[in-house]
Amino acid sequence: MGTPLTWADVGSRRRSFSTSNYLPSPASVIAVTDPSTGPIDPSQSRLRRVLGVRRRWTTALIIGAPLLLAGCNWYPSYGADPGATEQGHNTFKLYSGMMTTGIVVGGLVAVLIIWTVFRYRRRSDEMPRQFHENGLVELIYTVVPVIIVGVLFYFTVVTENGVDATQPVNATTASTGSTAGSPVVDITVTAFQWGWRFDYTGLNVGVVGETTNGPNNHGPQMVVPVGETLQITLVSNDTIHGFYLRDFNFSRYAQPGVINMFDLNVLRTGTFDGQCTQFCGLYHSEMLFSIRAVSPADFETWASAEVAAGHTLQGSGSGAENNPPPNTRTTPASAGTSATPTTPATPKAKASA
């Protein structure tokens, strides 16, 4: 056993061989000057100046770009739907702003990574300067993300309060949102394996439909009036289902034991497709439905026709478009509930939102 190494031994000895098979031997390595004898590296302050300028522009860009776009009322869709409901449109604006921010921030970081990779690829055997920290830079890139996140959180809270706001059950009193005091249509949506039931409690209309397996068959359809507040009560008979419409930028779980209530204010007429999104068993992929928004007058006509046809709350009949065509579905081996729609439980008294 030799004499123990002290730091002095290590410091004063130069290794003359390489322990690497792949990298050149340190014989050509240039020793870094001892900073205790040399001046402050001038490139360091230049780095700080460059980063400082870049930093300010970067921050301005990150915070400013989405706000500027929003101010100009231009929201890139990035593949999403602008939203056919008031709530959905607000969600879309938030989404668009966040995507713009994300693209700017992510893009900057990606450019930084790629630039670094190209700029600092090994050109010589010169040993790089062995720096390991820069307090100011680290502080900046800790504080700036907190600010960005704070701004995003603020807009999130504002949008979320709008999306989840519900009018009081008696809609004559003022409420939040531009549709305060608008007439209210109460609909109870019941999800079950594997279909949907829509009960218009004030109108004695019931629509039900289940799994479909034909082309262009979109399952039961909920007809609604434009310009009125839809107060949806969402329940489930068995497993958890997801009530989702792409065009409304919205989804909510239907869960046994939980009564979810939310408002939808449809802005335009049209047919909007929906589907179950929470996996619920064998025919989850076929649990389709749609919402057709019509003028209030057409809605009244439709409601009367439904009552006349016997599609009422207590009836178990289903609309014409809801009869599934004959298909090749075999009896599922391990699915629990049967395929025929069960009479849904009477909707429970609605708790206040």
């Binding site: 002095a8 020793a31 040399g38 938030l94 600092y120 068995d238």
Partner: protein, 590 residues
Amino acid sequence: MTTTVERPEVITPEELGGPDGHGPDVQHGDAHHGHEGPSGILNWLTSTDHKVIGKSYMITSLVTFFIAGLMAMVIRSQLLDPHTSLVSYQTYNELFTMHGSLMMYLFAGPFAFGGLANYIIPLQVGAPDMAFPRLNALSYWLYLGGVITMLSGFLVAGGAASFGWVSYAPLSEATNSPGAGADLWLMALALTGFSAIFTGVNLVATIFYLRAPGMTMFRLPVFSWNMLVTAILILIAFPVLFAAVVMLFCDRHFGTHIFTVQGGGSPVLWQHLFWFFGHPEVYILALPYFGMVTDILPVFSRKPVFGYKGMVFATMSIAGLSTGVWAHHMFTTGVVLLPFFSLLSYLIAVPTGIKFFNWIGTMWRGQLSFQTPMLFSIGFLLIFLVGGVTGVLLASPPVDFMTHDTYFVVAHFHNVLIGTAVMAGFAGFYFWYPKMFGRMLREGLGKLHFWFLFIGFWVAFMPQYLLGLHGMPRRVASYAPDTGWTTLNVISTLGAYIVGFSFFFFLINLWVSWRKPVPAGSNPWDGHGLEWFTTSPPPHHNYTHLPPIRSERPTWDYNHPEHRSIVHKPKDKASAPSGGGTKEPAGAAS
């Protein structure tokens, strides 16, 4: 046979070998214990050596990875066409359940903490083995038992579990999912859960108690720090999973009503329990891989890691915050406190951003060379960046309402998981393979593996973001032709095939390196950590000699004393000048 292990001798320069850097000849100096012991399969069954156990974990988890990958190929093939009937709905549901379960429970975690960390952490801290070697072995056998149990679901009547890797109640109750497959799935979780818990205990004990002299906590490599934090997260999260699994099993078979409404239970309770485990779980999967990249980037940049303390505190912040955000998976239930979980989810972006900038800072002004581990690390940086940004979007409840349970989320989590477990995981594997097996993997094949995987990833998953925004839900066995989703699905499937194909290069690389080995030497990458000081593979009980440990890069300091970064002046001022490339002005002590 239990052996007592003494500290290795100090190394003197004269004993250090020649240009191949092998270090002293370890075979002859090893007088403490002979090398008798069982060989062959009995050795595998009885070994408590962390190196053998680590390799077993890696092989088993990679096999699991490939099985789950094949399932993914079938899933993507089914989605090529609307209303395809490649497999039945039941089989499809089993496939995506098992794909997710195998990947999450049986590959990504065990590969990281059971495989690579098990092998590398004792080496990095200078220990002869893990603190509890027999417990370590037990962890592996419990894990293997879990793999067998979960896969045997395919052999029973009724098939494997088919309720998704999250097994939400009431879908997972006995009325909706009868059959032994679901019960086997639950039992597999119990086994692998305990395997993980025991590994977590071992990691904490090893890092706290078995470090080499001079290896203070703040001289640990960042990979060791990340494994320590991961281990504590495992101890927080996995017992909750076990409790939830037991409760669900009781609901299924012993007549309890914990998660069913009739009888007074609550399905939402399952979600709270599961996600209190589930969200830390994804960080348990991510943090080890962050640590691997943090160890690899400095080596191939020829510089120390930038912002060491920032990295450590960022890791701890991520872990802490991750335990508080579980209900962001439950935003659409309508019964969780949205602002609390939204704010904490947003905040996780801050320490993650710190880590990103530190990784960039590590490469900044370095001399970058692009061997395979470095390529995979850079791939990780780019892929995880996109995944992280989309995660920030999902932290917002309104945006979550429009994307929850659609392919947007599928794209997001594959983005982050492939970035970490696959990209960074293979970076770690390629990096430490020479140490573990004493031979090099071929660079050409490694680069081919990387490029096919990298390009295939983007082709496979970027269309899925759009699919989610266009309204395609997840976990659907088929979709209608008039949705317009077909084209994007075809592109995504093509990308999946490219990803799958990339692994042929990896397998060929393994085979070639085995048949025609190129000896690696103890330090082929000019690595920084202590593990590169010993031979490849390390001898029994890892070290016969140790260098002085004065920074987080003991091997680098030993090999490049004039380029060390952190200088610690010994108590007697009569020695060493301060050296290295610190930026302090003249005369300042470091």
